[in-house]
Amino acid sequence: MSDPAGVLRLLFLAVVGVGAVLMGGVYAVEVLDRLVGRAVARMPLRLAEAAAAPAREAGLLLLQRRTVTERPDAALWALAPALLGALAAAALVVIPLSPALALPDIGSGIVYFGAAMAMVMVAVYVHGWSANSVFPIIGAYRFIAQALSYEMPLALVLIAAALPAESLSVGDIVRSQSGIWNVVRQPLGLPLYLIAGLGLAFWGPLNFPDAADLAGGTRAELSGAALLLWHASRSAVLVAVAAMGAAAFLGGWLGPWLPGAVWMTLKTIALLLVLLAAGHLVARVRLERFVIVAWTVLIPLALVDIFVSGLLALRGAGR
């Protein structure tokens, strides 16, 4: 591991492994989102059509020509979708599929995940700002208000999940749930995490920066390959949110009979279905209301979660 050849091999494995998980995850999100939408509307599912539609739409977008605005910051505008996707990939690096299918566990894994997800704010803001156009920049400023509201609950519930493990490593957090999952001993954790996760991926009811009332917000001026990349990157963030939720609250790879990686995949898909269903079932709220609820309800609840989890962890440590 410490010799250069080993490091290069590790890098290769990381790129291939995380790339495969990311591409598969993004495609799964697109297919599942269509299926969930049809199921919610009580329509026939049409599995084959749902499975082929994302590829067809991606192909169409790749053929579309790129729109331009007047004097954009071209470099930042082109880089922002790539940055968003790279952040999702970076976050997936620390989430183990199973003890065998994992990159070397870094000690501060959950902080690393938090750092990558905090940079999402930069990617979305830059994306809206660099187009030099009205609707995108309004979307960008909206996302700052949104991000400052969901970040505290997100960070607090993840720290609470790390408390029983007495470690910041994601592998240790999964192992600490061998007796009882965090979703049971910290009942506030997962719901708060999922609400914050919807905000992080600006999905469904919390899609403020790219909202329809802004004619698409930060992606209002986007077309073609750039739009495809932005869309896929947003889905990738949702995959990272669901995977970390499965690891931190649903016991990750732990489970009987099946191999660990299968359990982890099933739990991630289950959380994805919850998030996608929220996108179809919950009405979009107003940003002001979300900010008020986040600061007066979600953050206090997250503090309760962390204090109770801390007390329980202290009691466990004193035994």
Binding site: S2, A5, D73, S108, A115, A118, M121, W129, A147
Partner: protein
Amino acid sequence: MEQDGERVLSDLVFWLAGAVAVFTAWRVFRTDSMVRAAYWLMASFVAVGVILVLLHADFLGLVLLLMMAGEMTIMAIFMVMFMMNPAGLNPMMMVHQHRTSIVAGVVAFLGLAAVGVFAVFPVALAVPTPDTTAQLGRELLGDSMLVFETAGVALFATMIGAIAIASERGRYGTADEGSVEPPAELTNGGAP
């Protein structure tokens, strides 16, 4: 052999991160927009965070990245809010008081360089323990707690004070005279 390989690799990453940190820090002062300046500065801090991780301070390095993402964005927005250029995209001069700043920069560089060249640094031969995060926690919430809490409260008070001073002159009159928004319904036949 294995030790050498590791050393070459970490040296390589160190010099790369150092070069990125210096180059992006220089770009902060050469760009013409507050948003770009803020994110060049963030790129510089990301490179510094990588160097901190190389120094086995992985928690500090990662927390630096986590904080800087939010901090630089908020800084950009505050600069845009308090300056005359509303969107921040129009070009503007980012440096002023050229002579003073050149003198201050040269003096600071020479001072720090002199410290770097002439000071005798203690050489710690001990291998860092793997759990630097736990050591950091004990330091922050143990012996140095009073120092850090005092600094934190002082910084917080400074921030509130700075915003209060900067926002004294509001759109609807000064803050100490009572800045009140005009009523929403039309009065006086709609005349201002």
